[in-house]
């Protein structure tokens, strides 16, 4: 509590205190959730009704509007998770470890959906649901890294020890992300190369690109909203007896407040 008080005045450190972060996260959730809904609605409208039919793949290409955003999000979420793991190891910061813990299930969900949508796009275009190609295999490894992270945490009773072990796993696994990203360049994969790059004009129709980018932004907003929601539950689970939980209970008027959660 004293450290919290000392840090309160000094910039962003303030947000590392659960007492400040918990209500702030609660206020941010509806905004990101609303943004996700609006962006996804716009993205789906453009994806299904504005973007033209592909001359080669017909309507099957419309899977791109969820395949690419979920695959990007699975990779990016892993990098963010590893970042919070590094912070938690370096500064022994509880909240950073909880952020990593909150990101893992959503990352795993997106990794799974990117593999699934890829399979149902691969079948009509390549003639197969699955092939042990470098891009697909490294994305499967990404899914297993998420599941391993979750399982390892769950297998260790002491939360701080679980944080450290899981953080190490996440940091070792981060090498897989550039492998996924560059796999289509490093190996001769069945998976196509990037349609979008930083250096060249996109190899797709303008409206297709807009639909895909809107869906990607929706995935970002969704991930932020869901992660903030989950991290709040994790904070309650792990700090049930802390003073700030009493204040939060009183503010939210929950059953916990009635059962002695309120500050005394």
């Amino acid at each position: 509590m004293t450290t919290t008080a000392i840090r309160t005045g000094s910039g962003w450190y303030r947000y590392a205190s659960p007492a400040t972060f918990y209500p702030l996260a609660g206020k941010m959730i509806p905004w990101f959730a609303a943004a996700a809904v609006v962006l996804a609605a716009a993205g789906l409208y453009i994806g299904f009704f504005v973007a033209p039919t592909d001359w080669q793949q017909g309507e099957s290409y419309r899977i791109i509007f969820i395949h690419v955003p979920t695959a990007w999000m699975a990779m990016f979420t892993y990098v963010v998770m590893a970042f919070w793991c590094a912070v938690s190891l370096a500064f022994n910061a509880r909240l950073s470890a909880m952020m990593a813990q909150a990101l893992a299930p959503t990352g795993a969900m997106f990794a799974f959906v990117s593999l699934w949508t890829g399979a149902f796009w691969g079948r009509p275009t390549w003639g197969t649901y699955w092939v042990w190609d470098a891009r697909l295999t490294s994305t499967l490894v990404l899914l297993f890294l998420y599941l391993g992270f979750i399982a390892l945490r769950a297998s260790i009773d002491d939360p701080r020890r679980a944080d450290r072990a899981a953080a190490l796993l996440a940091l070792v696994g981060v090498v897989n992300v550039p492998i996924i990203y560059f796999s289509v360049r490093w190996w001769n994969t069945l998976h196509q190369g990037s349609s979008i790059s930083m250096t060249a004009a996109p190899k797709m129709a303008q409206t297709m690109l807009v639909g895909m980018l809107l869906m990607s932004l929706a995935a970002w907003a969704y991930t932020i909203a869901v992660t903030l929601h989950r991290v709040r539950s994790i904070m309650l689970e792990r700090e049930a007896l802390a003073g700030w939980v009493g204040e939060a209970a009183a503010a939210e008027g929950t059953a916990a407040a009635a059962a002695g959660g309120a500050p005394r």
Binding site: F48, T53, G58, E59, S60, R62, I63, I66, H67, T70, P105, T106, M109, F112, V113, W116, T117, F120, W121, R123, P124, Y222, V226, H229, R230, R232, S233, I234, L236, E237, A240, L241, V245, G246, A249, T254, A255, A256, A258, A259, G260, G261
Partner: protein, 67 residues
């Protein structure tokens, strides 16, 4: 409408992809809601166990709390 749903013959693939995403999102959102509910319940239990005189009534919860 049914022509649109057919997706030029690719309806099975397109809707299998979108359908599983919809299910995955629904499952995740439902589990978030459940988790929030159970974590508040746990908070209530632990805090009730900490109240004076409550230790004897709920020793298991109290031990968890002091850990």
């Amino acid at each position: 409408m049914s022509e649109w749903l057919a997706m030029g013959g690719y309806g099975f693939y397109v809707w299998s992809a979108y359908g599983v995403l919809a299910i995955a999102l629904a499952v995740e959102l439902a589990s978030l809601r459940r988790r929030r509910h159970t974590s508040w319940q746990r908070v209530a239990e632990l805090r009730a166990a900490r109240e004076p005189g409550a230790q004897a009534a709920a020793p298991a919860a109290f031990e968890e709390a002091v850990k």
